[in-house]
Symmetry: C2
Subunit: 213 residues, 2 copies
């Protein structure tokens, strides 16, 4: 049995969690738990979309795999009592501790990225330095048992890579075909390196940032 | 204001909905409603993952965009009282009626795909014929105002294409960069054409099918 635990929290970006979830839940013997500070509905990054957290921190004390999704203001989570302690405590029991998007800033705040290469959403990449991590512009970054993924949709790629590690290539390929993951984005602008500068600038302004620093 | 309505129902595949949702919700002036036969929690394809449907069929009578996600047993939905009537009625009001994965079989059952090219999850592609549709092996298929997407993850591509249509390329590119959709699957086996035959066969057996017919 592979115990896979997702952290749910107010404001979380829905796809950060549901992308990897759709992959990892299909690993044979996966037992998935959705955990928040307390049992109940969690409002995602859009107020109309709510997920149910069926378990509280007190109920879940260990995991083989921990997945921390991101949020627009992920680091505000660090001020929530108990969350960083819970993450550190679960991490002590994991084989893999992972994050998607700005979830890596939560791992950083929990002290788990010190001196490690890590990635995050491109718009906050440099914020990783605050937590002693080494910003690394790759879609998926492995550092020992810590795996961080880039923004939002990168969680799907991360989960397939992780699946191959824990259950083999055959299982990962099966899941990839099961979710028909043969991506064909209509534009080639899904990363800062590829997007036109004015798109990058407009989006940073949306995020309340004036430049990429 | 763009009224975007997602159908939620028991057994729905989570990523079928959340993929396009993460894209479409970022369209300026999008007003998204998550609708089920009745207000309340909807259990997705994995029993531990539950979404809240905030509106019932009675409360939502029109939409600019309708999105129908798929499910392992999507066509059982057609036996649920009122659902096909509701879909037909909403479709009368839409600019775009869309589906992801086996959601196209629901559109078919509602009589909306007669003589139209459409796609679906690869494993049920031929089932489209039952509803008079023309199975079309493309990731996203447009037929007038109906847009169908292939399996699960194809909803993200479909939503970006749709975004470009209704809000322009600039907005679609911005959203693509926002969700950092620069996919890098670890394997090249996300479609039947690309996957090794033994993987296709194993998965069809999982789905309770002996061949692709």
């Amino acid at each position: 049995m592979k115990k896979i635990v997702f952290l749910f929290y107010e404001g979380m970006t829905a796809l950060d969690a549901i992308g990897p979830h759709q992959v990892l839940v299909n690993i044979p013997d996966a037992e998935v738990k959705l955990v928040a500070s307390k049992v109940g509905l969690v409002t995602t990054d859009t107020t109309h979309l709510k997920f149910l957290a069926e378990h509280s921190f007190e109920e879940v004390l260990e995991a083989d795999i921990l997945v921390i999704p991101g949020a627009r203001s992920a680091t505000t989570l660090k001020d929530q009592p108990g969350v960083l302690e819970w993450i550190r405590s679960i991490d002590q029991t994991t084989t893999w501790t992972t994050s998607v998007c700005t979830g890596s800033l939560i791992l950083g705040a929990a002290g788990l990225l010190q001196d490690l290469p890590a990635t995050s959403h491109w718009s906050v990449m440099n914020d990783l330095k605050k937590w002693g991590a080494i910003p690394t512009e790759r879609r998926v970054v492995e550092a020992g048992k810590i795996i961080t993924a880039a923004g939002v949709s990168a969680g799907i790629d991360m989960a397939l890579i992780l699946t191959a590690k824990i259950a083999g290539d055959h299982v990962a390929k099966r899941i990839q075909l099961g979710i028909e993951y043969d991506p064909q984005p209509p534009f080639d602008c899904g990363s800062v390196a590829k997007a036109p500068p004015q798109i990058v600038k407009a989006l940073l302004a949306d995020f309340g940032k004036n430049d990429e620093s």
